[in-house]
Symmetry: D2
Subunit: 343 residues, 4 copies
C-alpha cells in the first residue's frame, strides 16, 4: 500500500471520462477551442475574479512561468527553504526567470514568518551589487503538510506589498489547503494579497492538469508568449481543459481533497497512540511527518507499506505519509494496526 | 470539414483506451514506472538501436530540448527558413540553448540542399566574433509536405559530420515520412547520420505524446536534467507512455500515417484536374499546397471547408490542405467535387 | 601601413593624458565618483537632453545591454543583415536579451529601408507561435561606410514607433556619422526618434570607452543592475570617465572623426582614378569598399599595406579600407600612388 | 583617509607608465597582438604551468565566466555564504551559467570547511529534481580577510575531486594570499587541486586588469567564445596586457600586496591595544574586521577616516578596514592614534 506520494495515484474516473467525452471531432488547437475558453472562465469564477487563466500540465512549469512574470533576471525570490521551487525543480525557476535568485527563509512548520521576511528585506541592499527583492513564493499547503491561515497570508503579503514584491502562491495542493481552511478560494488568494497562483489538479485526481491564475492583470500581459516559448502550449488543449472541467464540477476538487485530508487526520489519530510516535508538524492537509521507533518502521516496510524516510534539519528521521483522493480508509486502518503491532 | 491542420484532430480511440487501461492503481511517478520503461525500450527497438528515449508531451519541447544538447549558447543551428523551430516556436530553441542562433537556409521544396549548406559552412568564421556552427535541424516530413529521401539525408549529414555538426531531425510528422519512404525508421535516422530525433505522435492520433530519441549516447548524458528543469517531466508519466504503447502497437502509427498520406494523394489527384490548379510542392506526405482560382477558394470556404491560405515567398497564395489519420475519404471527395463545381 | 580597421589604432595622447590626470588619490568606486557623475552629465548635454548615461568599455556590451532593455526574451529585433549585432558579437544580443531573435533585413548600401521594414512588420504574426517585434537596431555609420540621413532615420523610426518598436542606434562610429551629416547629435538621435544609443569612443581615439545613452527614461530603470550582472561595472570607473571627458572636450571627438572621414574621401578620390576601381558603396564615413584588379591588390599587399578582402553577397571581392583619427595623409597618398603604380 | 576598500585606489604609476608605453602605433586587435600573447605566456609561467590565460577587466566578469565553463545550467556551485559571487555580483554567475544555483556554506572565519562541504554533498540528490553539484568556488584571500592554507585548499579540493566537482578560486586578492602564505602561486592553485583561477590585479594597483587562468585544458575549450559573447573581449587588448606586464614585472604584484598586508598587520597591532577592541577574524591579508566602542568609531568618523560598518551574522557590528598597495604607514599610525585618543 502506497503512502509515498499523491503523485503515485492515477486519475479519477471522472477525469478520464471527461477526456474521452472531449474527443469529439475536430477542435481549434492551442487553446482556441470552446472548452478551453469555457474552463478558463470557470476557473476565474471559482475565484470570484476577472483572472487571466493559463492551462498547463506540470506544476514545475506553472511555478517557473509564474515566477518569470514577477522576477527580473536580477531579481530575488523569497521562499521557504524546503519549497518545491527551491529544491525540487532542478533550477526551473532560475531557467524561466533567466537567472533570478531564490533566497530561502527557514520558516516555522514549513511556513515563512513575517519576522524573518521583514528581517531579510531589511538586509536587502538596493545597490547594484545585489539582486533586488522581486517576489515571494508561498506554498499552500506547505511541504510540511501545514496550511497558512488567511491571516498569515495577509500578514505576509502586507509586508511584501510594502516592499514592492509580487506574491506567488504554489498551490500544487491548493485544494487541500482550501478544504482545510474552509474558506472561499478567493479569501486565501487575491483577497489576501496573492498576485499569481499555481493551481494544481494533478496531485488531486487529474491526469496532468495545472493552471496559472493571474489576479494582477499587468502580470498576464506576456504570459502566453512565455508559455509557448517554454514548450508548454498544448496543441490539443481541449484534453487539459476537459480535466479541469471535470475537476471543478460539483466541487469535486474540494470533495477529493477533503477525503485526502480526512484520511491524514485518521492516520494521525491512529499513529499518535503508537508508543514513541512524534509528529514533526501539525497535520493540516494530506501529508504527515512522524518519527517512529525503528522496529515499527522496519515492520511497516516488511508489511509492504511504501513511504519515504524524510530526514529533518534537526537530525530526526521521520517518515512522510501522504494521503490522496483515492486513499482507502481500510489501508489507513491497516497501517495503523500494523504500526501498533510492531511497537 | 476541417483541412486546416492535423492538430485539430482529437485522439484515436485506441490511444484513449490505452490511457484508461493505464489507470490501474498506483505507479512510480516521473517515469520510474514499468510502462514508461517498457515503452522507452520499445521505441528503441522500433529504431533497431540502443537509443536513449525521453517521453514528452509537446513537439516544441522536444525540438528545443533536443537542440539544447547539441548547440552551446554561442552555437549556430542551420535549418530551413520555414522550419517550425525557426518560425513557430516563439523562440523556444533560443530559450533552451541559452541563446544559440538559428541560421535559416532557403532550401528547395522545403528541403535544405547540400550545396547551400556547404556554402553556409564555408562562410562560417571560426573567429570569436561569430557564433559557431553546432548543429543542423532537418524537418521530416518538411513544412512543405515533402520528404527527404534516405540519400538526401545521408548527403546532408555527411557534410554536417565533416564540419562537426550534430544532426537533429524534427519528426513531428515522422510517421508520414517513414510511410512515404517505405523504409525502416532506422534507415532515415541513425543509419543516415541523424543524432537526435524529435519523434512526434500527437499530430498522428495521440493525445499529447512526443519523444526525443537520442542515438548518440554522449548527447543523452544530461537530457533528463534539462527535461526536468524545463518543466517537462510528468509526474504521472505512465499516461504519456500508454499513448506511445498504443501508438506503436501493431504498426498503428504507420497505418494511421499511411491513411493520412493516401488521403493527401487522393486530394491531389482530384484537385489537379481543377482548371488553374497549381501545386507548390510535390505531395509526399499529408500536406498539400495548391493555388486555385479565387472563385474556387471562395466557394470552398462558403461550403464550410476549413483551411489556411499560405502566402509563399514568390507572391503566390496557395491554400494549405492537411489530411490526418482520421480524414474521411468522403470528405476528401466532397472537397474535390466542390472545387470542380466552383471552377 | 594599416588600413585594416580603426580598432588597430592606439589611444590619442589626450586620452592617455586624461587617464593619468585622473589618477589622483582615492575616489569612490563603481561610478560613484565625481568625474563619472560629471561626464554622465556632459554626455547628456552633448545631446541637449535629460538622458540616462551608462559608461562601458566595449561596444558589444553597449549594444547587447541596450537591446536587453528593449526586447523581451520572446522578442524580435530587426537589423541590417551585416550589422555588428547580427554577425560580429558571437550571440551577445541573444545572451543579454535571454534569447530574443535578430531578424535580418537586406537593406540598400548597408541601410535598412522603410519598405522592407514595413513588409517585415506586415509578415509579423501576433499569435503566440512567433517571436514578437520589439525593437529595431540601426547602425550609424553603417558597416558599409554609409550614413543614414536625418530624414532616413526619421522615416524608419516613424514606422517603428507605429508598430510599438523601440529604436536602438549602434553608434560605434557615431562621431563619423555626425561629422558627416554636420548635424547636432540630438538631430539624428532622439529628435529623430532614437530611444537608446550605443555611443562609441574606442574606435575614434579612446582606449576603451563606450556609453549607452538612454533618451526614453522608462528604458533606463533597471539598466544599472543589468550592467553589473553582465560584469560591466568597473570599480575604478573614473578611468573610463576620464577618457570621455577628454574625448568630448573642445569637440575633439568630432575633429578626430572629421579627420578620419577626410582621409577616407582623400583615399576614394585617389583610388577612383585607378583603372578598374569600383566602389561598392558611397563613401560617407571612414570606411570604403573598393574592387580593384587582382594585380593591384597583390601589389598593395606586397608593398606592406594591410587591409581585409571583404567578399560581398553579389560575388564581388572588394577590399575594405578603414581610416582613423590617426591616419596620416602621407600614408593615404602612398597607398594611392602604389595602387596606380600596380595598375 | 580612506580605509573603505582597496577599490577606491587609483592605479600604480608603473601601471600607467606601461599603458602609455604600449601606445605605440598600430596593433592587431582583440588580443591578437604580441604584447597580449607575451603576457598570457608570462602569467602561465608565474604558475609554472601550461595554463590557458584570458585577460579581462572586471572581477565579476572573471568569476562569472570561470563558473560558466564549470557548471551546467542545472548545476550547483558551492561557495561560502559571503562570497562575492554569492552576494556582490547581482546574479552574474547565474547569468553566465544560464541559471546554475549557488549553494552557500557557512564556513569558519570566512573559509569553507571540509566537514560542511562533505555534509552538503551527502545531502545532494542525483535524482532529476535537484540541481547537480558541479563546482566549488573558494575565495582567496577570503571576504573575511583570512587566507586558506595550502593544506586547507588541498583538503577541500580532494573532497571536490572525489565528488566530480570543478574547483574555482576567486583570487580578486590572490596576491595578498600568496604573499601571506609565502608559497609559490602554483602551490595554492593547480598543485593544490584548483582548476580555474580568477586572478585579480585591479584591487592591487592595476587600473582594470583581471585574468582567468585555466589549469584544466578541457575547461578552456570554448572560453574565448564565452568571453566575446559576454562583451568582454577588448578591441585594444594591448592596454589590458600592458597592465599585466607591469604588474608581474620584478614581482611587483607581490611587493604591493606585501605592503598592503604589512599595513594591515600594523593596523591590527595598534588597534588591539584599544580598550574594547575585538577582532572578528585573524588578520591574514589586507582586510580587518574589528569591533570598537561606539565613541571610538564616532571619533574616527569625525576625524575623517572612511570605512564601512560591517554587520555580522552574530549581531556584532565591527568596522571593516582595508589596506592597499598605496596605504601610507603614516595614515595607519594616525588612525591608531586617533582610536586610542577616542577610547
Amino acid at each position: 500500500v502506497n503512502f509515498a506520494s499523491d503523485n503515485t495515484t492515477g486519475a479519477a474516473d471522472e477525469i478520464l471520462a471527461a477526456i474521452t467525452a472531449a474527443n469529439k471531432g475536430r477542435a481549434m488547437p492551442y487553446g482556441n477551442d470552446d472548452l478551453t475558453r469555457r474552463v478558463e472562465k470557470k476557473i476565474s469564477e471559482v475565484f470570484e475574479a476577472e483572472a487571466a487563466v493559463f492551462l498547463l500540465a506540470t506544476g514545475t512549469a506553472a511555478n517557473a512561468l509564474a515566477l518569470s512574470v514577477m522576477a527580473p533576471p536580477f531579481g530575488a525570490v523569497y521562499c521557504q527553504a524546503e519549497a518545491h521551487v527551491n529544491v525540487d525543480e532542478c533550477g526551473a525557476p532560475e531557467f524561466y526567470t533567466s537567472g533570478a535568485k531564490l533566497l530561502p527563509l527557514e520558516g516555522v512548520d514549513g511556513k515563512i514568518t513575517v519576522a524573518e521576511l521583514e528581517e531579510a528585506l531589511l538586509r536587502a541592499d538596493p545597490a547594484v551589487h545585489s539582486v533586488q527583492p522581486a517576489a515571494i513564493s508561498l506554498t499552500q499547503a506547505t511541504e510540511a503538510g501545514t496550511v497558512y491561515t488567511v491571516d498569515e497570508v495577509r500578514a505576509i503579503t502586507a509586508v511584501a506589498r510594502k516592499a514592492g514584491l509580487g506574491v506567488h502562491m504554489d498551490g500544487a495542493r491548493f485544494a487541500n489547503a482550501v478544504q482545510s481552511l474552509g474558506c472561499a478560494p478567493a479569501d486565501v488568494t487575491w483577497r489576501a494579497g496573492v498576485d499569481v497562483l499555481s493551481f494544481g489538479a494533478t496531485k488531486n485526481g487529474a491526469l496532468a492538469a495545472e493552471a496559472v491564475v493571474i489576479f494582477e492583470p499587468a502580470l498576464a500581459k506576456d504570459f502566453a508568449y512565455r508559455r509557448k516559448r517554454g514548450g508548454h502550449l498544448f496543441s490539443k488543449m481541449r484534453f487539459v481543459a476537459a480535466q479541469w472541467d471535470a475537476y471543478l464540477r460539483d466541487d469535486r476538487w474540494l470533495h477529493w481533497a477533503g477525503h485526502a485530508n480526512a484520511m491524514a487526520v485518521r492516520l494521525a489519530t491512529g499513529l499518535i497512540k503508537v508508543p514513541g510516535a512524534r509528529f514533526s508538524f501539525p497535520v493540516e492537509a494530506n501529508e504527515l511527518f512522524v518519527s517512529l521507533p525503528d522496529k515499527v518502521i522496519d515492520g511497516l516496510k516488511k508489511d509492504g507499506f511504501e513511504f519515504y524516510v524524510w530526514p529533518a534539519a534537526d537530525g530526526a528521521t521521520p517518515i512522510r505519509l501522504v494521503t490522496a483522493f483515492d486513499t482507502l480508509s481500510a489501508d489507513v486502518d491497516a497501517l495503523i494496526e500494523a504500526a501498533q503491532n510492531h511497537s
